[in-house]
């Protein structure tokens, strides 16, 4: 026993080193998984308020750009209002408004912090559980998909950016083809990679990539990007597709958090179904 204590005393530095590294490493491992909020991230009140202050100043200088983007989005939305359409068929059609029910609602938010220079990037938004945000909600900007909510505090939340190696998004190519999954390869913040698309599909450059209807996180047809480059590596059956993202992550201020009103019901059903199988 005495020898053991002497041994520890002699190499105490090494033991402290190992202890501290174990703690850091466990934090590092846990960061990469969905789990309950822990204190050590930017969604806590202190860091959240700090970044809120910084972004308040920064946003002031970006106001012109932000206004332009919002106006552009308004113009696009006005275009799809009922008033902008006319009936171009002589046949009488009945549009039943009462058969439609709201599935998605949108909560506006400001990005108070954002990085693009790591392999696993996160954003911090200035809304939290007080505003109705939960984990695993989708986040979109006026241009397209941004990410998925990770951790939530009362007034802030962190978002797994599309620029994160742990995110996979179900895409739809050219508005019809539900195939593959969209990931980030950690290279340029402007491009993502579309994986696992079988080489026998007829896919061409400049086809639009949007969100799939198979996702319960994002509404259908939210733009993601456009196919810029594709080829089939020799000896493989799958395309290598490079997608130019619509969202400019270098300059992101206003976003929307998407709430799927039917998700709790769907999750419950799916859980009980898979639970029955196991």
């Amino acid at each position: 026993m005495r020898n053991l204590l002497l041994f520890i005393a002699r190499f105490h530095l090494f033991f402290i080193f190992v202890l501290l590294q174990t703690v850091s490493f466990s934090l590092y491992i846990r960061q990469n998984h969905f789990q309950k909020a822990i204190f050590f991230n930017t969604s806590n009140q202190i860091t959240g308020s700090f970044y809120q202050g910084v972004s308040d100043v920064e946003e002031y200088f970006a106001l012109r750009g932000i206004n332009d983007k919002l106006q552009e989005e308004n113009a696009r939305l006005r275009g799809i209002l009922k008033e902008s359409e006319y009936i171009d068929t002589a046949a009488f059609t009945l549009k039943q408004d009462s058969s439609l029910r709201q599935k998605y609602t949108y909560i506006p938010a400001d990005v108070v912090r954002n990085t693009v220079n790591l392999k696993n990037n996160f954003l911090t938004l200035n809304i939290g559980s007080n505003h109705g945000v939960h984990e695993e909600m989708g986040v979109i900007s006026s241009k397209g998909v941004v990410g998925i909510v990770h951790k939530v505090s009362p007034n802030f939340c962190t978002v797994i950016s599309l620029l994160n190696s742990n995110i996979r998004i179900a895409p739809k190519i050219d508005s019809v083809l539900n195939q593959g999954s969209l990931v980030w390869d950690g290279r340029s913040p402007q491009y993502a990679i579309l994986e696992d698309v079988n080489a026998y599909f007829r896919i061409k450059e400049n086809m639009e990539v949007v969100t799939s209807n198979l996702s319960s996180v994002f509404p259908e047809n939210i733009p993601i990007g456009v196919i810029e480059e594709l080829y089939v590596p020799s000896g493989e059956d799958f395309f290598k597709i490079k997608v130019k993202l619509h969202t400019n992550f270098d300059n992101l201020h206003k976003v929307y958090v998407v709430e799927n009103l039917l998700k709790p019901e769907q999750d419950l059903l799916e859980q009980s179904t898979s639970g029955g199988n196991n």
């Binding site: 960061q31 050590f40 220079n117 911090t124 190696s165």
Partner: protein, 174 residues
Amino acid sequence: MVITSILRYLLFFAGLLLLQVVVIDPIDLGRFITPILYVLLVMVLPANIKPWALLIISFVAGIIADTFSDTGGMHAFSLVCAAYVRNYLLPVFLSKDDAEKPLEPTLFSLGYRMFFFYAASLTFVYHLVFTFLDEATLSNFFSSMGTVLVSTLVAVILIFLLQLLLYRTKPQEA
């Protein structure tokens, strides 16, 4: 005396944190250039600090840095590594007398050449550990090493500029 120096280092770290997250991080130098200056804190703590205290201080500083950049333990891990290396590295650059004084290992106390090697090695260790934790794979070994080298270079330049800015005393004769 101890209190004022603790306060001084606290302020120094707060300034470093502010510089990193408000000024350096938002500058987009491209995905592969990510200079990180927290290691400067580990560098300039006094030469006679207890090695275990150095480890604990770097751990706490790292956790705070992680909290501010959502890097969950990566800064803490890399900083503690750098601190562990410093315990063996600093005596190489100092005489036995100096190592027991509360001497701050800066550009001016070590001299330009010595400080360059000291700073470059610690910054290199820091970026090496940080980059490979970030990549979480060895499959892009060469591009990762490129990131490490370029980021180290940029960080060392920034550290030199900071030192010139912060300490206006004349360089001591080494």
